[in-house]
Symmetry: C2
Subunit: 484 residues, 2 copies
């Protein structure tokens, strides 16, 4: 399983030349993540992990505000337990890792490393739930999961990844459905407001549903190469798992009933989404809300700068930090300002602050935006307020830019010829009428690599239209795309 780790890239391949190469170059060169000696597994380096910590905070706050609590369930699932929900097994068994030996002894029953935790959590809920008074259960877990992968794409597809998985149990079908949609809404809110990443929220088709779900909903983002990224999913599991795992309760009318469950998750994959939504040939561009450093200060080393410029920089840093802004002063002697400008641009820091002896004289600093590369002279007086405004403007501007990109890369067609032509290039979303049959969906995938990302909420009706593939009566307008 041991694999060689290639050296870090020195240059970043331009997006236009090879988007996939650009992505890996940015991830590794910006020290977000790296390959590991274990096939399929990545190392999340401190700079990348700091982004994940900010994402966790943004999500966790929202989970708690909607009444959820965190808990932790075992990494291992006994084989017999996994096997109880038929569709679920079929979906996951081919991609799980098996533990067969513990210490020096062969195990009597093999253990699966969790690919997701419905089965083990369902088993515990069956113990904990007796009466309708015990409901709802609203639990989330931050954890690592394992799904065996042949290829490794850092953040996007790895054998082990980090995620959160919410698992809830409810008295009624209505409450479970409300919860499912509420959490999809939380994901959309987080993606758009914290990650500046516009997403389409909607329902997955039967063939793209989670193994064991009644309904699966997703948020889908559009990457700069025209491919879609599924950035989060929320599942209404109905009574499928409660029946398989015997999660029963005495209802208000004294009858014994099965609970209705949901599950929902997002993962470190979202980091990949941020990179591919905002980045450019200069490297990463981080939305301020998830940037480990929102401002990097580069003092210009002239004369006795360590006695003059640096103390002033530290004073300004303290004023910014007091306002809750994340600031780093890069005062390394070993590198030139030019090298530092380039480095922090590559690492996607939203704002660079330059300060030298001349700025001290004029009581000003230079602020350079990463997104537009605009530079401006700003007085030291009132700097914190100015920086706050700029960070908010960058956050909004990144969202707007991404929304415009999506709009420019979303097309509509009722013709399959046109559809296949579009799918040849860097397609984006294509909205087309579809009859609802899995056969058409599969044929389109085989012929064009495009899949239905979802049927967005409020999608216009397809009354009177013909399915783009079979010509039969269309039931909906589906959003197609090539995807990660």
């Amino acid at each position: 399983m041991s694999t060689e780790i290639p050296d870090l890239p020195t240059e970043i391949t331009p997006q236009s030349q090879d988007f996939g190469r650009w992505y890996i170059d940015v991830v590794r060169r910006a020290e977000l993540a790296d390959y590991s000696p274990v096939k399929g597994c990545m190392v999340i380096r401190p700079y990348g992990y700091a982004i994940w910590e900010l994402m966790q905070q943004g999500l966790d706050r929202r989970f708690k505000a909607t009444g959820h609590v965190n808990a932790y369930f075992p990494l291992f699932i006994p084989e017999s337990l996994l096997m109880r929900e038929a569709e679920h097994v079929e979906g996951f068994a081919p991609q799980v890792a098996w533990v067969t030996q513990g210490g020096n002894e062969e195990l009597e029953e093999r253990l699966v490393i969790r690919p997701t935790s419905e089965t083990i959590i369902g088993t515990m809920y069956a113990k904990w739930v007796q009466s309708w008074r015990d409901l709802p259960i609203l639990i989330n877990q931050w954890a690592n999961v394992v799904r065996w992968e042949k290829v490794t794409r850092l953040f996007l597809r790895t054998t082990e990844f980090l995620w959160q998985e919410g698992h809830t149990a409810h008295e009624t079908a209505e409450e479970a459905q409300e919860e499912t949609l509420r959490m999809l809404g939380v994901y959309k809110d987080f993606a758009e407001n914290d990650l500046a990443m516009p997403v389409m929220d909607g329902e997955k088709t039967e063939s793209e549903k989670f193994a064991g779900a009644v309904k699966t909903y997703s948020i889908e983002a559009l990457m700069r190469d025209g491919r879609a990224l599924q950035a989060g999913t929320s599942h209404n599991l109905g009574q499928n798992f409660s029946k398989s795992y015997e999660i029963k309760f005495q209802a208000r009318d004294k009858s014994v009933q099965y609970v209705h469950t949901t599950s929902w998750g997002v993962s470190t994959r979202m980091i990949g989404g941020v990179i591919m939504t905002h980045g450019d040939d200069g490297g990463l561009i981080l939305p301020p809300k998830v940037a480990p450093y929102q401002v990097v200060m580069v003092p210009i080393p002239r004369g006795n700068w360590r006695e003059t410029v640096l103390p002033k920089a530290q004073q300004l840093r303290d004023a910014l930090v007091a306002r809750g802004i994340r600031v780093h002063i890069d005062d390394r002697d070993s590198q030139t300002p030019g090298w530092k400008f380039n480095e922090w641009e590559l690492r996607g820091v939203p704002l660079r602050l330059e300060i030298g002896p001349k700025d001290l004289e004029k009581s000003q600093v230079v602020l350079a935006r990463r997104d537009t590369r605009e530079k401006s002279f700003v007085p030291m007086e009132g700097l914190a307020g100015h920086v706050e405004q700029l960070l908010a403007a960058i956050q909004q501007s990144l969202f707007d830019r991404a929304a415009q990109f999506r709009q420019e890369h979303t097309s509509r067609t009722d013709s399959y010829d046109e559809f296949t032509q579009i799918m040849d290039g860097r397609p984006g979303f294509v909205i087309s009428p579809w009859c609802g049959s899995a056969a058409c969906e599969a044929a389109i995938k085989t012929e064009t690599q495009a899949t239905i990302r979802n049927i967005p909420f409020g999608s216009e009706p397809a009354t009177g239209k013909a399915c783009i593939r079979c010509g039969g009566a269309a039931t909906v307008h589906a959003w197609f795309a090539k995807s990660y």
Copy 2:
């Protein structure tokens, strides 16, 4: 592997009757953790996990204040990688879980699930470190680890547990030693100030060292049954791992050298330490700094209390929350105030606030301390300040009480007869002169079950004394105890 989970206990066994039973009753009845369908693995329930989250925050803040950053490394370690450091393998190989199959295929090389991450992290450091300029590396990881266990003791000994593991690399031996002691100091500070748990900090003997370490230091707490609990360890690994994993750098003098590494960790075991340091026959007693709810308000349901008492309680709650106090109002209709008093006592909430119609008239509330069970009438005016003071007093009082308990359960003897007599009961720490030989240490363990917990810093010299076991010249005063 599937095991039956017993029903939750309804009563809590008194400590004096069976301390081990008391512990499990408290852990399960207070819903901190539970057994799982997987042998050796526990479920950390929301109330227990909330304590862990507060511990994580207290530790993480201290790690970052001392210059550390977080990262994440793979769960899996290829067998060949684990095998490189000879002592380390010998220590860990008997207790690891083996993955032998991924998806449908048998693996060419077996994977170990990390029991600790020196090997995989060392391999990455070898890639990342080139020059002295890349040092020090100060990384921490929050993760799950697996060490195969035959018995399950919730929080104290489980096959899978949660922990943090710091892994640092340094230019010089001195810096590595400083780091090792600095982090032990961080643990002591956290244990004593946040957990109100007094600990002895000192050096482990050769035979109790971490597998592969040059020196191991620990903090040791004393539980109410007179047994010691190792609550955290910090290891100076010298160049053992850097030589096995080829972590080399070009030094300031251009020579190529091996780095000096350290590692240090604490785990969810600390939750067990808190329970057994402070708890009583009424259940859990939580130090305010790690109590998920610092105050539980119980409104007394008389008359139209939902229109009168409850809004006032909510108003007071908001005033407390605004001061950063964690408050919960238990306004359930389904339970009586008496039941609620008992329940929150069992769950260890530091302060109970009672408020009823009569209190409203007098503009006062009742505050009941969990630790002393003292009740007092307190005016609503200035309540938040009063509660803050009380919480600080409880925090301090719990520490003082535990320190006094330790003092009362620490004895000194130069006689092996007396030593063995003490070790028969609920011993506490016993300080005795020791010659430094592993043979004596092993004999004492066999004969009395006591181990040397550590040689505390500043331990008085043993000059002229005889080893308690062999009568030879003693080199130090060692702290012995039976331990978890």
